[in-house]
């Protein structure tokens, strides 16, 4: 912890925090509003899309990943990558089950 060269802490200004907080509130409102709209299959898609945007904002700004080292970014990316493999390949199974035999 003593090496100062490794820890160039980026100071995030309160303004950024407030802006992100506001964005999160607006997006929450949007989720609530969207739940009153009937969009068929897009109900889930829209809700999930808003949630993903919110999560991304939290990870990038509140968790400081945007200002972190490449190694931290790689670590976050690795988690995301495995998650996509898990969901993607599982979904491939679900979608192709309906195709029946070849």
């Amino acid at each position: 912890m003593s090496e100062h060269s490794e820890h160039e802490h980026h100071i995030v200004s309160p303004k950024v925090y407030v802006a992100i907080f506001a964005a999160l509130l607006i997006l929450t409102g949007l989720t609530v509003a969207a739940s009153y709209l009937e969009m068929g299959v897009f109900n889930a898609v829209v809700a999930l899309a808003i949630a993903v945007i919110k999560a991304t904002l939290v990870v990038l700004f509140f968790m400081h990943v945007k200002y972190s080292t490449k190694l931290t970014k790689l670590t976050v990316g690795a988690g995301l990558f495995t998650f996509i493999v898990l969901v993607g390949m599982t979904l491939c199974d679900y979608i192709t089950r309906a195709w029946g035999r070849w």
């Binding site: 190694l71 690795a78 988690g79 495995t82 493999v85 898990l86 390949m89 599982t90 491939c92 199974d93 679900y94 192709t96 089950r97 195709w99 029946g100 035999r101 070849w102």
Partner: protein
């Protein structure tokens, strides 16, 4: 055995264990329970995983005794289900997963990369407490009724049909998972941040590379297991319905989640074993590991490919034909890096000055048995043959060849190899060579007949079987008793050696790793000053020059 040996012990009449070392630094139970020293935590882990190994082993003994006769006569069928479930759960989550990383890995990684401890000593201790807490909970679940879902907790059996301690056991494994995540996280941070000057990535021993790959799997895979178990618990308690078709869920989703962890988990179990074998093979053939870079990258390749093959456990479970095709092909891919390792070890042996001390005997056992285990994995990954072989004893034999024949052999190889470093004393060579031989014979007698039983169609997980399968089952049970002796022997003579073993000195094997260039047992702070790595890994000429220098300075 050949009389040639590389063992180089100090003069026993004058040699003493160094007064100051990590074992003698502080005394009393509290100095152990509150320690931050990675070496002491490794010893704590070693004691606790051995305890669980013998519980799991006793359960295995019960299984084999029941299967001695075709009828279900020793155990009621319900009890039999619980016994094999608890055998699997204890052996996998409480022995195999932490076996090498939490003991040898914990002890050696800082020594090998020239660090004074792991990056996060308190997290390391916390991981042991989580492990012990989880273990106690699992044993509590076992004595208060047990669990009978198999170690795989397959839905809808585990969520809708059984009334055993699924929730308690699930929580136990959930907690054990965090212990494993903490170990992995600690290794990753340590390997990235705490290498000594000159210790570049490609100067690290392959042991460290193997553990790095393992840690990636632990950190990225284990959370998915945790999610799967939490969902099973929620399904049982409040009926959230993710696995329930009546509520729009899908029981197969559980298997997707479970195997997404549990296939990489077999690499969590085997990669540290391979890491040990690289060190042992190099030391006892006096050669640099052939194709160092290939072996290092094959560990990482196994870790990455390991995430793409999980559905090969689900070929007959109702996944789509197209998924079967893709996952079957991808499974073939993951065999390549394992084969790279085996071939490179074989080339390391080629023209080496091979000696046959106990760790090397276990390593030979590993190479043969792991190869058979791996090759039969290809049979199972091929979707056509899998339909015939899956859920039979062929699976049981395949898995035990990899895990017992592979991983346990590697664990014992590593334990014997680093025993002098950990305790400062040698184990008795002759009797331990005998134990290695007994283990090998017992192992083959136990598990080879199970391959034949599997191809004949004997299903796994039943307490009774048709009488024509009895002969092979008798062989298997007889082998299991021999195997049991093979595992009891090390406990006896290793304990004996703590007091009566010969003084080992710094470097009994004349090995090149940094851990061998310090006193045995090491100091609490490992290095008086941080070393500088000025040579490649496995550089035996460097070691010779070092020795000449010493002689010159003494003379």
């Amino acid at each position: 055995m050949s009389s040639a040996t590389i063992v180089n012990l100090p003069d026993q009449s004058t040699a003493r264990i160094p007064k100051m070392n990590y074992l003698s630094k502080e005394n009393g139970l509290l100095s152990w329970l509150l320690t931050g020293d990675h070496k002491r935590i490794a010893i704590l882990y070693l004691i606790s995983i051995s305890f669980f190994f013998f519980i799991g082993g006793a359960l295995a003994g019960l299984i084999r005794l029941e299967l001695l006769t075709p009828q279900s006569d020793l155990l009621a069928t319900d009890t039999y289900n619980k016994v094999f479930s608890m055998h699997g759960i204890i052996m996998i989550f409480f022995f195999l997963v932490p076996s090498v990383p939490a003991t040898l890995g914990n002890f050696l990684i800082p020594l090998m990369i020239g660090a004074k401890d792991l990056a996060l000593p308190k997290i390391n201790l916390l991981s042991w407490y989580l492990y012990v807490g989880a273990g106690i909970l699992a044993i509590y679940a076992m004595i208060t009724g047990g669990v009978d879902t198999g170690w795989t907790f397959t839905t809808p059996l585990s969520t809708h049909y059984v009334n055993t301690n699924v929730i308690t056991t699930g929580i136990a494994i959930f907690i054990a998972g965090f212990s494993s995540i903490f170990t992995g996280l600690n290794f990753i941070v340590t390997i990235h941040k705490m290498r000594c000057p000159g210790m570049t990535w490609f100067r690290m021993p392959l042991f460290v590379w193997g553990h790095y790959a393992t840690s990636i799997l632990m950190v990225l895979g284990t959370p998915v297991l945790a999610i799967a178990l939490v969902l099973v618990i929620l399904e049982r308690t409040v009926g959230i319905g993710v696995f329930d078709p009546a509520k729009g869920g899908d029981p197969l989703l559980f298997q997707h989640l479970f195997w997404f962890y549990s296939h990489p988990a077999v690499y969590i179990m085997i990669l540290p074993g391979m890491a040990v074998i690289s060190e042992v093979i190099s030391t006892f053939s006096r050669k640099r590991v052939f194709g160092y870079t290939a072996v290092a990258f094959s560990s990482v390749a196994i870790a990455v490919f390991g995430f793409f093959v999980w559905a090969h456990h689900m070929f007959i479970m109702g996944i789509s034909n197209y998924s079967v095709l893709i996952f079957s092909l991808l499974t073939m891919l993951v065999a390549v890096p394992s084969a790279i390792k085996i071939f490179n070890w074989a080339f390391t042996l080629y023209k080496g000055s091979i000696t046959f001390e106990t760790p090397m005997l276990y390593a030979f056992g590993f190479m043969g048995l792991f190869t058979i285990g791996g090759m039969t994995g290809i049979f199972l990954g091929t979707s056509g043959t899998d339909i015939h072989l899956t859920e039979t004893y062929f699976i049981v034999a395949h898995f035990h060849f990899v895990m017992v024949g592979g991983m346990l052999m590697a664990f014992l190889a590593g334990l014997h190899f680093w025993w002098p470093k950990m305790t400062g004393r040698m184990y008795p060579e002759k009797i331990s060579q005998l134990a290695a031989l007994v283990t090998f014979i017992g192992f083959n007698l136990t598990f080879f007949p199970q391959f034949i039983l599997g191809t004949l169609g004997m299903p796994r997980r039943y307490a009774s079987y048709p009488p024509e399968f009895q002969v092979l089952n008798v062989f298997s049970t007889a082998g299991a008793t021999i195997l049991g002796v093979g595992y009891l022997l090390p406990v006896l003579y290793l304990t004996w050696s703590l007091k009566y073993g010969e003084i080992a000195g710094d470097n009994p094997w004349q090995a090149t790793g940094l851990e061998w260039q310090m006193q045995s047992p090491p100091l609490t702070e490992n290095f008086r000053e941080i070393p500088i790595m000025d040579h490649e890994a496995y550089d035996y000429e460097w070691l010779e020059r070092q020795k000449e220098k010493e002689v010159a300075s003494v003379g």
